[in-house]
Symmetry: C2
Subunit: 202 residues, 2 copies
Amino acid sequence: MITRRQKELLGYIIAAVQAKGIPPTVSEMAKALKVRSKNAVAKLLYALEEEGYVKRDGTARGIQVLDEFGNEVRAGIQSVPLLGTVPAGGPIIVEQHVEEWVNLPNSFLRGRKDVFLLQVRGDSMIGAGILEGDLVIVKPTREVRTGDIVVALLHDEATVKRFVEINGRRYLKPENPKYQNIYPNDEWSVQGKVVGVIRQLE
Amino acid sequence: MITRRQKELLGYIIAAVQAKGIPPTVSEMAKALKVRSKNAVAKLLYALEEEGYVKRDGTARGIQVLDEFGNEVRAGIQSVPLLGTVPAGGPIIVEQHVEEWVNLPNSFLRGRKDVFLLQVRGDSMIGAGILEGDLVIVKPTREVRTGDIVVALLHDEATVKRFVEINGRRYLKPENPKYQNIYPNDEWSVQGKVVGVIRQLE
DNA sequence: TCTTATGGTAAACAATCGTTCACCTATATG
DNA sequence: CATATAGGTGAACGATTGTTTACCATAAGA
């Protein structure tokens, strides 16, 4: 529902906010789009606002870029959803399952826009330095390699384990001698790959 | 070298940036300071710029707040120094020892302004889920309690260990059976307390 | 073919922007 | 006392702000 030109403008606004810290003026946008009239920008902005991509307040530089959930996009930060439960089918990030929105700096995410957070339960990964209560940053993907720490869906519950593939045989390996490997007959599916760990002490 | 009134204005600008995402206009600042003339604000801004607290570019809302090191202060983020080495005496955070500035969201720091980061070397804390290469968030303090994970200076080198005090006897305990406890005769001093751990995988 | 949606030019508009000027009022310091 | 400094009033200035209007060009659909 958004045209190529509108997307172009939105991209520029986001880039400008990230780079300079403040949103651009209409004139600056016109210059960036190589357009001589401010009205051309005004029409694009009107369309973007109608579709809920931006919010305007009429004052100088008074443009806020909203993400797909209507939250403000700010310089250097991204809001990342902390999921309570991970649903079995369909898209992983559903508002229903979002417990909280956590701000993370862009440098953490390296440009990825689709990551989510998950709070670790249990002690099955203490050998890999992942403790109960830790937040893991997860990049949704099904393409994982041996040695990756992954988030898998096991018996309708999200679990963090190490992924291993030997001779075409794929299994999940807990990093704790108390637990046993999980083999394919247990019905599990990889949902994503852990790309970061965050722990708050005290 | 900064007056009370100037500090008041600086505080408002920072608060406004954090709250709304964009810096205030001169008129908005005048209203906030309950002042009728924009010139009053202009003079305060001139003084703040002279002292290096802000930077102006003349355009609408073109004010950047700079931190004590001249870096831009942005909404929701703080720049935290990653230290290469930890000096024995004097203030811990010296520009000389700063390897890099890392952006962390305010929610991580819980309002603390004096924390720093340290990259962990070695495997002496794997039992506590702290691996080689992890970044630890450190709050500088000498007041620590049994069980706290601390940063200590041992033989002129920074080390991360667990702090234990039993019957008035204080020692450092590595969380790895390969290493032995470190007792007072080894000459060590607590520099701070670990309040967070960050790991980037992949 | 007619109509609609999208994007553009050019000009004008009032409102707001930051800056500057002359002048005033305390307060502290010599 | 004289003087410098910090902070303030009020007005004016030109530049920039976002918005609006009238008109044009192109492409897609009915």
